[in-house]
């Protein structure tokens, strides 16, 4: 079995203004890993570790400085032409923490979904309408939501709709960046169950970026730990979280509140 996604020696440097002129800020350094077909890979690490940068490169929203990303055996470069972007959209979709930025606040949900379908599969209007019904149902939004606008939705409903858009074209990979982090616990649970169910039903792969280890355990079978843009360790989620090998992973785990936990000053401080 070959990987769906193969990342090799990926590097991303930003030019930032420093004390004396432009400086190089290395967000990703020599990152290599595979994502198997149908697998759900977590990318965890603290803020600034490079998770979003990685997600954006894989979703084609940002170029890498060097290194390569291969999707289904083909090199993945940022799509330049419209046809490339359309083709990419059928393979990889992205869901953000706050989907509002990527949604038209006043376009009705039904028409927004139909528009995507029409762009890719023009013709057959009846099929499109059925497909919209099906998509809304899959993410647990009743038919009444067809006529609603993103502005009138709660955070959880909005995230469900963003997921409906992401699965509309049946992509093989969905990149999710902190997609449940802003949700209340009781709503977060609904979305996490939805993500597990969709993966079962559709066989989609996830690249699931999160800072929350418990959330990651719930939806991912593989887990990659990052610090300062470098890979710290990677393996089956259960192993990484039950028997972490690296001190950094251990310190992350030790700091998560849980029954019987006490805060401690021993954990590393970032100055």
């Amino acid at each position: 079995m070959t990987g769906l996604l193969e990342v090799r020696n990926l590097r991303k440097a930003f030019q930032v203004k420093g004390a004396d002129g432009l400086e190089e800020l290395v967000a990703l350094e020599d990152l290599s890993f595979d994502l198997a077909r149908g697998s759900s890979l977590a990318v965890v690490g603290e803020s600034g570790s490079g998770k979003t940068t990685l997600a954006r490169i894989i979703a084609g929203l940002q170029p890498a400085t060097s290194g390569s990303v291969t999707f289904d055996g083909k090199p993945l470069a940022p799509p330049r032409r419209l046809v490339d972007r359309i083709a990419r959209a059928r393979e990889i979709q992205m869901v953000f923490q706050d989907p509002f930025g990527s949604l038209d606040p006043i376009q009705r949900l039904g028409s927004s979904l139909e528009e995507i379908l029409n762009l890719h599969y023009p013709g057959d209007r009846a099929w499109r309408r059925r497909r919209v019904d099906e998509l809304l149902e899959q993410v647990g939004l009743s038919q009444e939501f067809r006529e609603r606008t993103p502005r009138s939705l709660s955070g959880g409903q909005r995230q469900r709709f963003a997921i409906a858009k992401a699965i509309a074209l049946e992509p093989r990979l969905i990149v999710l960046d902190e997609c449940v982090s802003a949700l209340d616990v009781s709503v977060q649970a609904q979305v996490l169950n939805l993500l597990s169910d969709l993966r079962q039903a559709l066989g989609i792969s996830y690249l699931f970026v999160s800072h929350d280890l418990a959330v990651v355990r719930q939806v991912c079978d593989q887990c990659l730990v990052m610090q300062f843009g470098k890979l710290v360790e990677m393996g089956p989620t259960q192993l990484v979280l039950n028997a972490p090998q690296e001190p950094y992973t251990k310190s992350l785990l030790a700091a998560v509140p849980r029954p019987g936990w006490r805060p401690s000053k021993r954990t590393q401080v970032h100055q």
């Binding site: 603290e46 009781s186 649970a189 998560v256």
Partner: protein
């Protein structure tokens, strides 16, 4: 034991666009905090946690209508004259917010920020205040305080800045700490550090604290008692270790069951719908519309909080539900 803070039958109504009349955002809230005691206020967004902070500071939004009472050391704060209120806010209360960058002037040095308030209210002279700031910075693990006080906020990481905010709250030697989601924006390792520091300082200075968060496990770890809030009311109160191991209100149990676990994967119990605010709750139990145990009575009659030893639960069926709820919460 005397109470530092007593909130009794508090109701707050606010003007809201789309509504002709003011709507309630806090409804019949009761909560007491003893001197030196740490109480955790846990709830989801919109439940009224920050409005409770503002009620304790007596700093409500324009147009707010308040009834009931909030007392500090036995005195109604609404009766404070301007000067007393100003001193109460700046000296008796130490307030720490979620986002330090929103509450610090970016053009001031850390030193000015820490020293200015206590000098302005004539509590200390500048030199004395500077010494205290440096000493407190050392206590929160910032050893190079004399250099740090010359820096500007943008030169400090979020974790360091939040520790500066703790120092700022402690500068006037307050009796009571109000902490609203102070670690929500921090990485877990930094959160652990900041909370350990705060707990230590609180215990050595015997400070009372209201610790507001949406994270029940975190709150349980740093407080003596927990109050669980939903739609503007408190549905359950009790010792932290008891609430977090044996909840009695269906909402508390649901909160625990919907949180994924670090050690095992199981299908998460979900609560249908979304958290609501006080004005969306009808006359019945605030949680009735989402409660899987709700009966007809629940949607028409608001349950009163029933006290049993050191626990209090506002649920018509708390006694009958105990076995079912303990199963739900432990799943």
């Amino acid at each position: 034991m005397t109470n530092a803070i007593e909130i009794e039958n508090l109701r707050i109504d606010l003007p809201r666009s789309g509504f002709r009349k003011r709507v309630p955002v806090i409804n019949d809230l009761n909560l007491c905090i003893e001197e030196g005691e740490a109480v955790g206020l846990v709830g989801e967004s919109g439940s009224g946690k920050s409005m409770t902070t503002r009620a304790i500071m007596h700093l409500l939004p324009d147009g707010a209508q308040r009834s009931g009472s909030v007392r500090y050391r036995g005195q109604e704060i609404a009766d404070f004259d301007r000067r007393t209120l100003a001193l109460y806010r700046s000296r008796d209360l130490g307030v720490i917010f979620q986002d330090p960058r929103a509450h610090i002037n970016p053009l001031w040095t850390i030193g000015d920020f820490l020293v200015e308030a206590v000098v302005a209210n004539r509590q200390m002279l500048r030199a004395e205040a500077t010494d205290r700031a440096i000493a407190l910075l050392a206590q929160v693990g910032i050893s190079n305080g004399s250099q740090r006080i010359q820096q500007y906020p943008h030169q400090l990481s979020g974790g360091l800045l939040q520790r500066v905010m703790i120092v700022s709250a402690l500068m006037p030697s307050p009796a009571f700490i109000l902490a609203d989601e102070i670690s929500t924006a921090l990485d877990v390792t930094v959160q652990s550090e900041v909370m350990a520091i705060l707990s230590e300082l609180r215990q050595s200075n015997r400070l009372g604290m209201l610790f507001i968060t949406h994270d029940l496990d975190l709150a349980a770890a740093v407080t003596d008692r927990l109050a669980i809030m939903y739609a503007g009311s408190i549905v359950e109160v009790g010792p932290s270790h008891e609430i977090s191991t044996a909840p009695k209100h269906p909402y508390t149990a649901a909160l625990m069951a919907s949180r994924p676990s670090l050690t095992e994967v199981r299908r998460l119990q979900t609560v249908p719908g979304r958290p609501i605010s006080a004005f969306e709750a009808g006359n019945g139990c605030v949680f009735a519309s989402r409660c899987s145990f709700a009966a007809a009575r629940c949607s028409v009659e608001r349950p009163l909080a029933r006290q049993e030893k050191d626990r209090s639960v506002a649920c018509h069926f708390a006694a009958d539900l105990a076995p079912a709820i303990s199963v739900a919460a432990s799943q």
